[in-house]
């Protein structure tokens, strides 16, 4: 999930990217310098533009091409170009869940030995490094990483008597919010974000939606397990509790933002991506945000809640990796360019300017970044990314995700007794091509 919030400077960004692209388009092709096209998702386009300029050399120029905002649309646009063996698709920003599918279709050029080692060296946080490998090859450069934390109002947790310095469970936050008249914000619309939640819950209970994903459609469906039931239990408990938000069945990363600082009431616990901090900082004193600085300081953060008490949680991982198109006309240039836009320095720029967290540990020590975020929050981001649990890494991920969405939605119909079993059956049928999705 590549998600950020950029309330300010939206027009400026639009205008800037418009002008730059026009300028680039007219400049390209005139002097015969090869142009590399980099398909980017619309997060931090201003910084990406700067990176593209900085990484252009005398040999080639890098030009941006913006993808639609939805993850599904991004995947479709890229995949269709790749299926058409487009040689002008040089670099692409990829959500980690697409990598196995693209790599197994042979659409991503594997990194040469040296770059491969560099792109996955010890400095790269484990959660991010794990998502760029497929079939023993490194097929993308980690650029930035995203993870979910538990965001909450300190005053709410305190009133409920919850000790947030220790790991908390879903059960605890649901009952704390219910007792205090607060709510719990999650993502449970029928979309990818819901699978992020379900997957994290299942991993947190020591299970997995599917195992042996390398086998493609013959992967082993393991959602019908104790872990699956534990996850379903959390969802059912929340849906039935007074802490559930009224738009639970259509909730996404944006719908519960307003409930952190509601007109009346104690606020909420919310699992959400890293952009939350900057979001409320920018909203201080504005409608939908904290009333003043003290209100903003009431915003707390903790590691993703545990599904099972005592068992370490598996926070979701998202972000962007840069892949090189297998049909690129200039693969060597593209590799060099991809390497250039994913350096520590590039990652720091994205983090400072746009709040997109680095996938390299050393980037977190940058003074600029240390100034922009509280140190304990940065630490938490880093640990969370380092110990995150990915969604199933399967070439058929979109089917897996779709099948889970269709059987687990809406959240208030989830039944720990039947839902995991039903979804396992449906998922197996879908993988076998015996059911429509």
């Amino acid at each position: 999930m590549s998600v950020t919030k950029r309330r300010g400077r939206r027009l400026a960004t639009l205008a800037l990217s418009g002008v730059l692209c026009t300028a680039l388009l007219t400049a390209c092709g005139e002097d015969g310098t090869p142009t590399l096209t980099w398909y980017v998702n619309p997060d931090g386009v201003d910084t990406l533009t700067t990176l593209a300029e900085g990484c252009s050399t005398d040999d080639y120029r890098i030009e941006l091409q913006e993808l639609p905002s939805g993850a599904t649309d991004q995947r479709t646009q890229l995949a269709r170009r790749l299926a058409a063996e487009d040689d002008s698709l040089d670099l692409m920003s990829l959500d980690p869940v697409f990598i196995p599918e693209f790599a197994s279709a042979g659409w991503l050029a594997p990194l040469p030995e040296e770059l491969a080692q560099q792109a996955t060296d010890a400095d790269v946080l484990e959660g991010a490094a794990a998502t760029v490998e497929w079939d023993d090859e490194v097929v993308a450069f980690p650029q930035w990483a995203n993870t979910q934390l538990l965001w909450y109002r300190r005053s709410l947790a305190e009133a409920a008597g919850l000790d947030m310095s220790k790991p908390v469970t879903w059960e605890q936050i649901i009952s704390a919010a219910s007792d205090q008249g607060g709510s719990v914000g999650v993502q449970a619309n029928r979309y990818e974000g819901y699978v992020v939640w379900i997957n994290a819950l299942i991993l947190g209970a020591g299970g997995a939606i599917v195992e042996n994903t390398e086998a493609g459609t013959d992967a082993e469906v393991t959602i019908d397990s104790d872990a699956g039931r534990a996850a379903a239990q959390v969802i059912a408990d929340l849906a039935a509790s007074p802490a559930a938000q009224s738009d639970l069945s259509v909730s996404n990363e944006g719908t519960s933002l307003g409930l952190m600082y509601p007109e009346g009431g104690p606020g909420e616990f919310m699992v959400n991506w890293t952009f939350i901090y900057k979001n409320y900082e920018g909203l201080t004193g504005q409608p939908g945000g904290p009333a003043d600085q003290a209100g903003f300081e009431d915003l707390g953060w903790a590691r993703y809640p545990q599904t099972v008490a005592g068992q370490e949680s598996a926070p979701p991982i998202g972000g962007i990796q840069i892949g090189v198109g297998a049909y690129s006309e200039y693969p060597d240039y593209a590799m060099a360019a991809a390497n250039c836009v994913t350096t520590v320095d590039a990652q720091v720029q994205l983090a400072v300017n746009n709040g997109l967290m680095p996938s390299r540990a050393s980037a977190y020590d940058d003074p600029g970044l240390q100034e922009a975020f509280p140190p304990d929050l940065l630490d938490l981001f880093r640990t969370s990314i380092d110990t995150a649990g990915p969604r199933p890494q399967s070439a058929y991920y979109s089917k897996i995700s779709g099948a889970v969405q269709s059987t687990w939605h809406p959240a208030d119909q989830v039944d720990p007794e039947t839902t995991p079993g039903d979804s396992a059956e449906f998922l197996a049928d879908v993988l076998a091509g015996e059911a429509l999705l």
Binding site: R10, L11, L14, D43, A84
Partner: protein, 280 residues
């Protein structure tokens, strides 16, 4: 019965028609003037509420978006080329159908009829497959060709209906003077048929301008993406909500050509639609 009631009913009817046709248009115009910030926080109501009037901001924002500008260019170019080509082919065919005796005429008409009813979506898969093999994927010709095919029935119908109204004695006179069928067609009939051709062109243009299915399936970048597809992929600054007011501004811009054409040529369009059109 007095004359009052029919007249009263007429006035009510006119008002109802006007409300029906124009209310959503006025609404999208009004929405396009609401400020983007107010949309994110929720700004219900028909007109921009106090302090949320954005002036031309949304229009400036849309216009400065390179993707949208390219989409307008694509739509205009693709639709115009498709229209010209389609009407040219349709003119030939319609002439033959209206004027000549030849074997297979019914067959041609049946094909046209079948294509007018063809479920477009069932073609996107195979067409995508073909286009990527031919290198037509995400190019102008890749859209122009299907637009031609799907507007041809409409154009053939409209045109042959018009051609039947033409005083053909003039053609016969020309033929008596020694002109061949072809010469008679070119010198005498083409000028007479021009108004019909023009009407067919407008309807064809509307179809191409309106298309969405091909627009989203056979393109993937601004190289060929037309306006409807571009609107549906419009990237706002807020990833969780559609940028309603920006989209509204884009929608208004995309509608202006249609309104201009309608204002200028409403008579011709109505005549075309009711004489031979199937759908537009």
């Amino acid at each position: 019965m007095s004359r009052f009631w029919p007249r009263f009913g007429m006035v009510v009817g006119i008002i109802l028609i006007l409300i029906w046709c124009l209310l959503p248009v006025v609404w999208i115009l009004s929405l396009s003037f609401k400020s983007e910030d107010s949309i994110i926080n929720g700004n219900p109501g028909f007109l921009p509420s106090e302090g949320t009037f954005a002036g031309w901001d949304n229009y400036v924002g849309v216009w400065e978006n390179d993707q949208f500008r390219r989409a307008i260019l694509n739509s205009i170019g693709i639709s115009l080329i498709a229209t010209v080509l389609s009407v040219a082919l349709a003119t030939l065919a319609a002439y033959a159908i209206a004027r000549l005796d030849f074997k297979g005429k019914r067959w041609v008409l049946s094909i046209a009829l079948a294509i007018a009813m063809f479920p477009v979506v069932s073609l996107v898969g195979p067409l995508f497959d073909m286009w990527r093999a031919f290198g037509l994927y995400d190019t102008w010709p890749g859209l122009i060709i299907p637009y031609m095919s799907f507007t041809l029935p409409l154009a053939i119908w409209t045109l042959s209906a018009f051609f039947r109204e033409i005083p053909w004695e003039m053609e016969q006179a020309a033929q008596v003077d020694g002109a061949t069928s072809w010469q008679a067609f070119r010198k005498v009939i083409v000028p007479l048929a021009a108004p019909g051709v023009f009407t067919a062109a407008i309807l064809t243009f509307f179809f191409a301008w309106n298309d969405f299915v091909f627009g989203i399936s056979l393109t993937s970048t601004e190289a060929a993406r037309p306006i409807p597809a571009s609107l549906s992929f419009f990237v706002g600054s807020d990833p969780f909500n559609r940028p309603a007011s920006l989209l509204a501004a884009g929608a208004v811009l995309a509608t202006i050509p249609v309104v201009v054409i309608v204002l200028l040529f409403q008579r011709k369009i109505v005549a075309g639609l009711t004489s031979g059109a199937v759908k537009g």
